[in-house]
């Protein structure tokens, strides 16, 4: 359902970020994308969200060729992707509830749907009592939960996580990972870029390793090194 076909990407400054990368992720899979910083993980995520176009090759999500999408269709693609960032990216002047509702408002969801769905999402991420708090009143882990609730708000088919635990301590990271597993068990496809090797080894899922823009390993049984 998500396929990279011989994808290469060379940026305008001649930096070759990806070199002939191919892989397929099936519906409902949980996949780690690992590798040192600068290896090309972020480029893969940016190609998925159509922020960048590949120099060659194709990216296919649910039978749709992402790199050939017209500009006006990119918004529709992004509604089918949920994105979680390392730095949460919450709006500081909006409450927890408003941050989640914002994602639904901007895709023009009916008011009644927003009213019903936001509490359910906050319950899922365990923040039911905090809906009126502002981001600066929350811990990092709680902020990331809000970001996760927001990413899930428009019921995407794929969840893309860019170092979701990168700013969190190990205990909090573990909570977020358990939450992601829960979401995955409910059928969500998850692609998570990380270099948290401990996490990758502890919670085993398929691992795709990228180094110097090349895919060097793709292990379904999981585990970071060895």
């Amino acid at each position: 359902m998500l396929t990279f076909q011989s994808v290469s990407k060379t940026y305008k400054n001649q930096v070759c970020a990806l070199d002939d990368v191919s892989f397929t992720i099936e519906r409902g899979e949980f996949v780690y994308l690992v590798g040192p910083s600068g290896a090309g993980k972020s480029t893969i995520l940016r190609l998925l969200t159509a922020e960048e176009k590949p120099t060659s090759g194709q990216i296919i999500i649910e039978n749709q060729v992402v790199n050939r999408l017209r500009r006006s269709r990119v918004a529709a693609l992004r509604r089918r992707l949920g994105v979680v960032f390392q730095d949460f990216r919450l709006l500081p002047n909006k409450t927890v509830h408003e941050n989640v509702a914002f994602a639904m408002q901007v895709v023009e969801a009916p008011v009644a749907t927003i009213r019903n769905r936001v509490p359910l999402l906050l319950e899922l991420v365990g923040l039911s009592g905090r809906q009126h708090s502002y981001p600066n009143q929350l811990s990092g882990g709680e902020q990331q939960r809000v970001a996760l609730a927001r990413a899930l708000a428009n019921d995407p088919g794929i969840l893309i996580c860019d170092e979701p635990t990168g700013n969190l301590d190990p205990a909090t990271s573990w909570e977020i990972m358990r939450l992601l597993s829960l979401v995955n068990e409910r059928g969500m496809t998850i692609l998570m870029a990380t270099h948290d090797s401990e996490m990758v080894n502890r919670m085993k899922h398929r691992v795709i390793v990228i180094e110097n823009g090349k895919k060097v390993r793709d292990r379904v049984e999981g585990g970071y090194l060895n």
Partner: protein
């Protein structure tokens, strides 16, 4: 938006100034054209006679002029009558002409009226050829002078408008850009959750158009007041000077300025959003 109130004020201010200048020039050129049309509509031609002309020739000329096709009527104005008329126009300063009573410097003339406006030029040319006519004057000359003046004004105005429009566009662009910059986080999140370009754009476009409209409307108000004062003054002090009546001309002017303000605001917003929307 509340973070850059000063910038907003500046952009409305500069739109205001630009539209006042623009409106002022529009009013001046429109009035000059209006005057030109007014003069153009006049059917009177004055033919001055040579100084040494004989009484017989004047009598003959009266006949000859009446026979030219297109002449409705003709009146002979002797230099004595001309001097009296001048005296009337000077009013209580009439005494200035006292020394001319003995030696009249004015010329005899015929006032010729054409049946139609289009015939004035050919009629004047015909009169010029008659023996004993020194000079022919008619409203068209004034018209041509006025026309060449409005032409120059038009070109100047066009350049001015182009320059001012670009300046306004840049100021509005900068204002919108500041707002966009202050809200770049929101825009980025909107992009990631799949908001359409138009959904993101319209509040900024609305802001730009409102700023432009506000500037134009205030300028329209200022011009309205200014013109009504000028109109009143002219009506009393220079009654023979024809000015375009206030209504409905000034309402049209304000409407056009408002449209201009909205258009500039719209393009200013579109241009300043372009880069931020390409996420």
């Amino acid at each position: 938006m509340r973070h850059n109130g000063g910038m907003m004020f500046a952009s409305v201010g500069i739109t205001l100034v630009m539209f006042i200048i623009l409106g002022f020039f529009l009013l001046v050129t429109a009035n000059l054209e209006y005057m030109a049309e007014d003069v153009e509509g006049k059917l009177e031609i004055t033919a001055y006679l040579k100084d040494e002309i004989s009484q017989e020739r004047i009598a003959a000329l009266t006949q000859e002029i009446a026979l030219i096709p297109g002449v409705k009527s003709t009146i002979f104005v002797s230099n004595t009558v001309a001097l009296e008329r001048l005296g009337e126009r000077l009013g209580d300063r009439k005494d200035l002409l006292a020394s001319y009573q003995a030696d009249n410097p004015l010329r005899h003339s015929f006032e010729v009226y054409a049946t139609e406006g289009e015939q004035v030029i050919s009629l004047a040319e015909g009169l010029q050829k008659l023996e004993g006519i020194a000079e022919v004057r008619y409203g068209r000359e004034e018209v041509e002078k006025l026309m060449s003046m409005t032409q120059a004004l038009r070109i100047g105005m066009l350049l001015l408008v182009a320059g001012l429009s670009v300046a306004t566009l840049f100021v509005l662009m900068n204002t919108i850009r500041l707002t966009v910059y202050a809200r770049r986080q929101e825009i980025q999140i909107m992009k990631f959750v799949g908001a359409s370009d138009w959904f993101i754009r319209w509040p900024f476009l609305l802001q730009g158009m409102l700023l432009g409209l506000l500037g134009a409307l205030v300028a329209g108000g200022v011009l309205f007041l200014l013109y009504s004062r000028v109109n009143q003054y002219v009506a009393v002090q220079i009654p023979f000077l024809p000015l375009i009546p206030m209504m409905p001309y000034l309402l049209q002017l304000v409407r056009n300025l408002a449209i201009g303000g909205i258009v500039i605001g719209f393009y200013g917003s579109m241009l300043s959003l372009g880069r931020y929307l390409n996420v």
